[in-house]
Symmetry: C2
Subunit: 331 residues, 2 copies
DNA sequence: GTGAAAGCGCTAACAT
DNA sequence: ATGTTAGCGCTTTCAC
């Protein structure tokens, strides 16, 4: 790999001049510029991003970090695509870390990102009081939260109204005549699990249904926990007649269990999932779901982040996007 | 962020000694080590990965690059998880680039990865004669191909027997009595699209069915192309009575079209997909599919890569893993 | 308009 | 067992 030094020698100028040309700095003679440009081409010179980042913390290294809770979840995949598209168009590369809802892994990856001198970070923290993330914000690293907020610190957040989204789902089930509606939640420490639980509760109340603690099961937000908790619920006597599932991995797991048990949907058990998927209408039966604008969440988050990088002082913004209930045949 | 220098001053030693302690080098007095360790703790010192990578190209910067063709495809998500698990356990961080089957984007990301001084790269090249990737291999960068190989250069590859996998699928359809079996392929320049086409053709022949060019449609490997090409096929007269779909995004797209058209599966049209999904059994109807061991492909690739990093000279290995036909109700 | 010198945080080679 | 010196590739003064 040719370095700036090689280019300088080839063009008969100093490295500084090469640097100026590379960074489109003014004050460079047109003739010199042409000569340098030619040398760059001849030597196939590519700026070394590592050296650049090392030298100038102040200047942008054009690198963003993204912390994804679970890459298997199509919701996060779409968030990621939104982030990526914006990053790409603004000349940022992103380093993606999938911590699999694991707090230890999260901490390790955060350390790595920090020590990679990233310019900014988009993260869905494992908990609202995530000490590591909070300290990162306080250290001045431009940071945007998606899907989950942070307490005790002012930070940009992009998410949906989880209470309302869950309300939509459960209210719909109640209006359809379901009486014993269960809620299969994700990890209890994840804010959205609780907010969705709140919406669930409110919808029950508003429809004159009793809140029964036994019908709420918390898991670890995975497909597997969807399978298991759904089985636990359907073994109860009397069993629930409908399910509200807390994310689409859980939904898919629950569907698997229902099919294995040979129960018919929605006759024997209805189901509404939080998060829509591109293939929801191809499921058996087609799935009623609360749609979050995942791609847009990612897009907005990336925009906010890039904005904050260029204007670190500005006040924190909290964006709440709308959810939408898509009624299909599972309810 | 405290630097090595800060630690050195605090502990009353030189940076070199600190470096030795950090890297567990021998030849360091127990007492000094303790003092340094304390200073590290007190100052919350974290080694700067950027500086480390800049200084020693020879030494490992503990960073791998991964080029993913399309993060929306669950197959690649599982490959990624396999890579990630191995990387994590070997103390490597990974920088993931999703190029969305876009050759321009691929080239840009490859440049970035190179200029980030990564230690190794796992990539699914857009084409077998991908000039950029080939030049990377020739430059000596440890590199492993997944899912797709490379011509004219000796390189580690991990993939499945696509011809055989496709044969399994189409042979199964033929044995089930389907006569006009269509193939919805991905991008024609992707090797696996062609190999799967070859298996398709062989299975037709072996079952005494005629190969009809009109029944083969190439697209861009996306959900959308699955939707569109399936519609084109089903508008034909006479229309195909079965579909073999080239990847799971295409499968999902095709299913959508079939449902929209109100055709019953498998009575009016059978379908077998390449790639199984965790929720295949929850689809309507449950999907017959060729399963690739995606997670293991990623795992093996990462192992090969780490191995090659420590032993750059070793001969290239080509690993071909087995596929498996999982028969469900769509065929 | 251009260059010389210093330094980002770290490690390698060579002292001591 | 520890320190000194040099330098990775680049940007940033501050000269000229």
């Amino acid at each position: 790999m040719a370095s700036m030094n090689d280019v300088a020698r080839q063009a008969g100028v100093s490295v500084v001049t090469v640097s100026r040309v590379v960074n489109n700095s003014a004050n460079v003679n047109e003739l010199t510029r042409t000569r340098v440009l030619k040398a760059i081409k001849d030597l196939k010179y590519k700026p070394n991003r590592v050296a650049k980042r090392l030298r100038s913390k102040s200047l942008s290294g054009n690198l963003l970090g993204v912390m994804i809770p679970d890459i298997r979840n199509p919701f996060y995949v779409d968030v990621l695509r939104g982030i990526e598209d914006v990053a790409y168009h603004n000349n940022y590369a992103i380093i993606v870390c999938n911590f699999g809802q694991d707090e230890t892994k999260e901490k390790m990856y955060l350390d790595i990102l920090q020590s990679e001198s990233i310019d900014g970070l988009i993260v869905a923290p494992v908990r609202e009081d995530d000490a590591k993330v909070i300290s990162l914000v306080k250290s001045g690293l431009p940071l945007v939260c998606v899907d989950r907020g942070l307490v005790s610190v002012d930070v940009d957040v992009v998410l949906v109204d989880n209470v309302k989204g869950a309300f939509l789902a459960v209210d719909h089930l109640a209006k359809k005549g379901f009486k014993r509606i269960a809620y299969i939640a994700g990890k209890p420490e994840i804010p959205s699990s609780r907010y969705r639980g709140e919406g669930y509760r409110k919808a029950l109340e508003s429809n004159g249904l009793m809140y029964d603690e036994g019908l709420v099961k918390y898991g670890d937000s995975s497909h597997e926990s969807g399978v298991r908790l759904c089985a636990e619920l359907l073994e109860m006597d009397p069993r629930p007649d409908a399910l509200f599932t807390g994310n689409n991995l859980i939904t898919l797991g629950a569907l698997e269990t229902i099919h294995n048990l040979g129960l018919s949907i929605p006759q024997e058990v209805g189901i509404v999932g939080f998060d829509d998927m591109p293939w929801s209408s191809s499921l058996n039966p087609s799935l009623t779901a609360v749609r979050q604008p995942a791609y847009e969440i990612g897009k907005r988050a990336a925009e906010l982040l890039i904005h904050r990088i260029s204007e670190p002082g500005r006040a924190a913004i909290s964006m709440m996007l709308n959810t939408e209930l898509i009624v299909r045949k599972s309810s």
